[in-house]
């Protein structure tokens, strides 16, 4: 029973850093943009957040710096896609290369260092070792319903989804598809980088090259699983978090399975999740997803 509780407790912790980018990608894809650059944005956030936290001894400044950098970096993507009408997948992969390279440069002096991490707040009384999380975990899980409200219950959300479905009609109705897409990209970039920073400052407390290990791509898979719904994204993030923690627990117990096979668990699970829940989602997906909008010319 205690094993089960610590599993749930850990799953919630590990769900947070992937929930941030997943929510961002939901918003971005609802506006009609697929961004494969999440992995790069997360790495950028993880390294810069760590570096700033190390330098200033304040993890919150680290998160702030990461958020700003993620926002700016994703504006490059938005500019390419919206303004220069670049192919979305290629632009996203370019952003991935950028993030991998920049994060290695930023993080190089900080390998094998420890940075101040977030204080933790217990959910079940101060004595309990379980269910103690830093503020960002609570923020992540609060953001999901907030984004659901934003997307489905506000005028802005309606406009954003309209742009994702059919930018030409949205434009005819007086909405600027470019502006909406820039805003969505800014949100997504910020969230992805914060997710990365949470990984290095909330969970590991260290930086290592490529430490996000494909979480940016798993987040994209979770968006498909969530059917572009922020509330379902919570479930996706918990499944992923649960897989990661299960793998860690099994390794700690030293069962006779190679750690390499255990490491595969989250990826295999993600592919299976896509296979089971990712089929026939085309009618749910935003209709203009991945398409270049050429304006009214």
């Amino acid at each position: 029973m205690s094993w089960f509780l610590s599993w749930i407790s850990g799953a919630i912790l590990y769900a947070a850093p992937i929930l941030f980018p997943t929510l961002g990608e939901v918003v971005e894809q609802r506006a009609g943009m697929v961004n494969l650059g999440l992995e790069g944005l997360m790495l950028l956030g993880a390294s810069l957040g760590f570096a700033v936290s190390f330098g200033t001894k304040n993890p919150w400044l680290g998160v702030l710096a990461a958020a700003g950098a993620g926002l700016l970096a994703n504006l490059i993507y938005a500019w390419l896609v919206v303004h220069r009408r670049a192919h979305q997948l290629a632009a996203g992969l370019a952003l991935m290369f950028f993030g991998i390279g920049m994060s290695a440069l930023i993080g190089k002096p900080y390998v094998r260092q420890m940075a101040p991490v977030f204080p933790k707040y217990a959910l079940m009384g101060p004595q309990s070792l379980l269910f103690r999380y830093d503020l960002l975990v609570y923020v992540a899980f609060l953001l999901a319903p907030l984004f659901w409200f934003l997307l489905f219950r506000t005028r802005f959300g309606l406009r954003l989804r309209a742009v994702g479905e059919n930018p030409a009609i949205a434009y005819a109705a007086g909405v600027s598809p470019s502006l909406i897409r820039y805003i969505a990209a800014a949100l997504a970039g910020t969230l992805a980088a914060v997710g990365g920073a949470h990984l290095s400052l909330g969970i590991t407390g260290t930086w290592s090259e490529g430490m996000t290990a494909g979480r940016g791509f798993i987040a994209i898979a979770l968006v498909i699983f969530s059917r572009w719904n922020p509330l379902r994204a919570i479930a996706g993030a918990l499944i992923f978090g649960g897989a990661v923690v299960l793998q860690l627990q099994l390794q700690a117990r030293g069962i006779g399975v190679s750690p390499f096979f255990l490491d595969m668990l989250p990826y295999v699970l993600t592919v299976l999740v896509l296979l089971v829940w990712g089929r026939g989602v085309r009618h749910v997906a935003p209709a203009s997803l991945g398409r270049v909008y050429f304006g009214t010319e």
């Binding site: 290629a90 370019a94 290369f97 950028f98 390279g101 494909g214 990826y267 592919v271 270049v292």
Partner: protein, 343 residues
């Protein structure tokens, strides 16, 4: 007709040159911002990788995997598929090739090597078949699955390299025993240049011929151009999708096994500095055009070699080269799509 073709080629050359100048300028500013001397960095990379014959051979040696991984992306690309999984296919090719190298010892010289290379192709093809089947059936988009499989492949390789295949004499460094002599790709002229380079050229020519001049190429391009039209024409669209993925995977796998059989001579985890992703970049810059692939493979091979030069002379981490690649992609993507039409 001919003159317009020449004019277009000339125009492309001008664009390429302009792109190179802009990229060098921006990356130079970037180096300068990091407190390095960009002029000296460029001089060093040029002197050590182009003017020096061993260095140039090293660049050509890097072209070998890049040509093959770029083709591994280009063939699915022509069928309308985005294969971002060449990195994983590269690793799996190296894995299965290593199995053949270590377990089929004793066969005649040429036969053993041929089987090793073939095993590498099978490894890459099987790894690519997973996203291929999922896509052909219309279940899961191939972009995301190929990306995810990139993270699985090194774990599979890691299992064998750290576990059953680990060479006992090098306990501190996980790697397999050396390939026997009969499984090695010969190095040429005492440099790093190896037979894999000519394999790459051979497959590039084969690709150029088959894609443009054969019925297979026409069918493949029809599937890529308009799958619905292809289906109405009675083409086996699902089979073509799977075939394109597996062919691409086979070439990326060949790149992996050739790299190990020529350069590393043992399987270990760090056999690829991102050749699969670089191949994707090469194909994207070339837009699956054979001549373009040749030129861009050289360019990216030069950049990859320069990354190692900068690592040594400027004490930059190798990953800095990813920033340079990103800059190139950013600048190419930012160019208006006039030539590419409305895709």
């Amino acid at each position: 007709m001919l003159s317009s073709w020449r004019a277009r080629l000339g125009w492309s050359a001008v664009r390429l040159l302009l792109t190179v100048v802009v990229v060098l300028g921006v990356f130079g500013l970037f180096l300068w911002g990091l407190g390095r001397d960009p002029i000296k960095a460029y001089q060093d990379t040029f002197r050590l990788n182009i003017l020096n014959s061993r260095g140039l051979a090293g660049v050509l040696a890097r072209m070998a995997p890049l040509l093959l991984t770029a083709l591994g992306v280009a063939i699915p690309f022509r069928a309308g598929l985005i294969n971002v999984g060449a990195e994983g296919q590269f690793m799996m090719g190296a894995l299965l090739g290593t199995w053949a190298a270590l377990n089929l010892e004793g066969l005649p010289m040429g036969l053993h090597l041929a089987l090793v290379l073939l095993a590498g192709m099978v490894g890459g093809a099987l790894w690519a078949a997973v996203p291929g089947v999922l896509r052909a059936r219309g279940w899961v988009n191939e972009t995301i699955t190929t990306l995810l499989l990139n993270y699985l492949a090194p774990l599979v390789v890691g299992y064998f390299v750290f576990g059953p295949w680990r060479a006992p004499e090098l306990a501190f460094y996980p790697q397999t025993p050396e390939y026997p002599a009969s499984a090695r790709l010969p190095l040429l002229f005492g440099t790093r240049l190896h037979l894999g380079f000519f394999l790459g050229l051979f497959f590039l020519l084969a690709y150029a011929y088959l894609i443009n001049c054969s019925r297979w190429g026409l069918e493949l391009r029809t599937v890529g151009g308009n799958a619905e039209a292809a289906r109405r024409l009675g083409l086996p669209v699902e089979r073509w999708i799977l075939a394109a993925m597996m062919l691409g995977g086979a070439l990326a796998g060949l790149a992996g096994v050739a790299e190990v059989a020529a350069i590393h001579t043992r399987l270990k985890l760090d056999i690829s500095p991102g050749y699969g992703f670089m191949g994707f970049l090469v194909n994207w810059l070339a837009f699956a055009n054979p001549l373009g692939i040749l030129i861009m493979a050289f360019l990216i091979a030069f950049i990859a070699s320069s990354g190692f030069t900068l690592q040594i002379t400027q004490r930059l981490p190798y990953a800095a080269v990813n920033v340079l690649m990103a800059l190139i992609l950013f600048i190419v993507l930012a160019k208006p799509l006039a030539q590419r039409g409305k895709r």
